[in-house]
């Protein structure tokens, strides 16, 4: 790899480098996943004089995207990068290119879909918000056409003012005449119909952040409804620097479900994901502590090694990548676990549970550099 220097330390502590022609290095080219190289030194009679059990590997600047991910794969990125360091990148909308720095907010284990685990992997977060807002998930107003109630589904009656879960058993006649609309849903709650689903795994924002081009929005369950503007929007990855995209992979993300869905912990594999309340070093009774560990950057930002209560923090304000003087409200990943809503940070830095996942807000996503 261009610019990489392997520093040889012999087993007796000597760091002198002998005549290169006498060195044998295995492997000669480091691949992803290699954590050591073995160097042997033979004399001219081909006798092994010293066999090394090295190894320290030094990554010298310039740091390209490929070199950054290489050090990340070797588990040594935390030796070369700082919390609060910045990786420069671009964000391109049409023919307009914006500066888009990514901040190193932490280091942690990253698990790929294959089950491979890497250590000390940088967690990056976009410094600015996206240029356009999007729903977390639209109102799931899936109009029922069932003649009789189906097993495994719930029905929500809307009378023009209120939404009500209808108490129906499988086979019961659905009282369409009593309501303006009757919606069919998978959950025993009016929330998904009335406000949108507040579950990261099934959210359209997850699809938006992890796709490029059109066609990113796909129905995910029987009563799902596409966002109204899905066909006119292109996925978030459309705008991201191709050099950055080339090195990134989906990694394991864990997110607590809202209670009406089951209250378990979802596992997803995502390239881009919003940070959780916990990962931003905050706590609230309605935000799960299972949504990832606090990151060091947010510990510093909020001035506490332990989680602080959600509130208003000026330091959490984020500006639009397309207008760096306009602070924007941006989605967090955590659901309000006992209720409707998703956590957000407002344009004034107010961290709160935003009741309506169907509102269009901005994103300030994170990714693992692996």
């Amino acid at each position: 790899m261009t610019g990489m220097v392997a520093t040889i330390t012999w087993s007796d502590g000597d760091t002198s480098t002998p005549d290169n022609s006498a060195l044998s290095v295995s492997p000669s080219i480091l691949e992803y996943g290699d954590t050591s190289v073995t160097v042997t030194y033979n004399d001219h009679n081909d006798h092994v004089l010293r066999a090394l059990q090295p190894v320290s590997v030094t990554f010298a600047p310039p740091y390209t995207w490929s070199k950054l991910v290489h050090m990340s794969r070797l588990g040594v990125a935390n030796q070369f990068l700082d919390i609060g360091g910045v990786i420069s990148s671009t964000y391109t909308v049409g023919n307009k290119e914006y500066t888009c720095p990514w901040i190193v907010v932490g280091f942690r284990d990253a698990e790929l879909e294959s089950g491979e685990i890497y250590h000390n992997v940088p967690v990056l977060q976009m410094q600015y918000t996206s240029h356009e807002p999007i729903v977390f998930d639209p109102k799931e107003e899936f109009v029922s056409e069932d003649a009789i109630a189906q097993d495994g589904f719930y029905y929500v009656g809307y009378n023009g003012t209120n939404y009500t879960i209808l108490r129906l058993n499988a086979g019961d006649t659905i009282p369409y005449g009593s309501y303006v609309n009757v919606y069919k849903t998978k959950w025993n709650s009016t929330n998904p119909v009335q406000y949108g689903l507040n579950d990261w795994k099934m959210s359209f924002m997850r699809q938006y952040l992890n796709n490029s081009g059109t066609g990113w929005a796909q129905l995910q369950h029987e009563c799902d409804v596409l966002p109204a503007n899905a066909s006119s929007m292109t996925g978030f990855m459309t705008y991201i620097d191709p050099e950055m995209l080339e090195v990134l992979h989906p990694t394991k993300v864990q997110t607590h479900q809202p209670s009406y869905i089951g209250g378990g912990i979802d596992t997803t594999y995502d390239i881009f994901f919003p940070l959780s309340v916990s990962e931003m070093n905050m706590s609230n009774a309605s935000a799960s502590s299972d949504d990832g560990a606090p990151t060091d950057y947010y510990k510093e930002l909020l001035g506490s090694n332990t989680k602080v209560s959600t509130g208003t923090y000026d330091v959490l304000k984020r500006y639009s990548v397309a207008n760096t003087t306009a602070s924007q409200i941006y989605w967090n990943r955590s659901a309000s676990i006992d209720s409707l809503g998703v956590w957000v940070v407002s344009s004034s830095g107010f961290v709160h549970n935003h009741y309506s996942p169907s509102d269009s807000l901005y994103q300030c996503p994170a990714c693992m550099l692996i």
Binding site: P62, T64, L81, G85, S88, K317, Y319, T325
Partner: protein, 54 residues
């Protein structure tokens, strides 16, 4: 092709950097306001000049 360095080590603490960004945003906004006011004054000056010449 020369390898492009994309990494900048931390120079300010996270809070200092955010404070800097906020200030930068406010300054940019302020500069925009000053520019708009300057443009308005120029327009006014042109009108006064035209009236004076007329």
């Amino acid at each position: 092709m020369e390898d492009k360095n994309v990494y900048t080590p931390r120079t300010l603490s996270p809070t200092e950097r955010v404070a800097f960004d906020n200030l930068k945003a406010e300054n940019t906004e302020l500069r925009q306001i000053v520019k708009e006011q300057a443009d308005a004054l120029m327009e006014l000056a042109e009108i006064i000049s035209e009236v004076g010449n007329g």
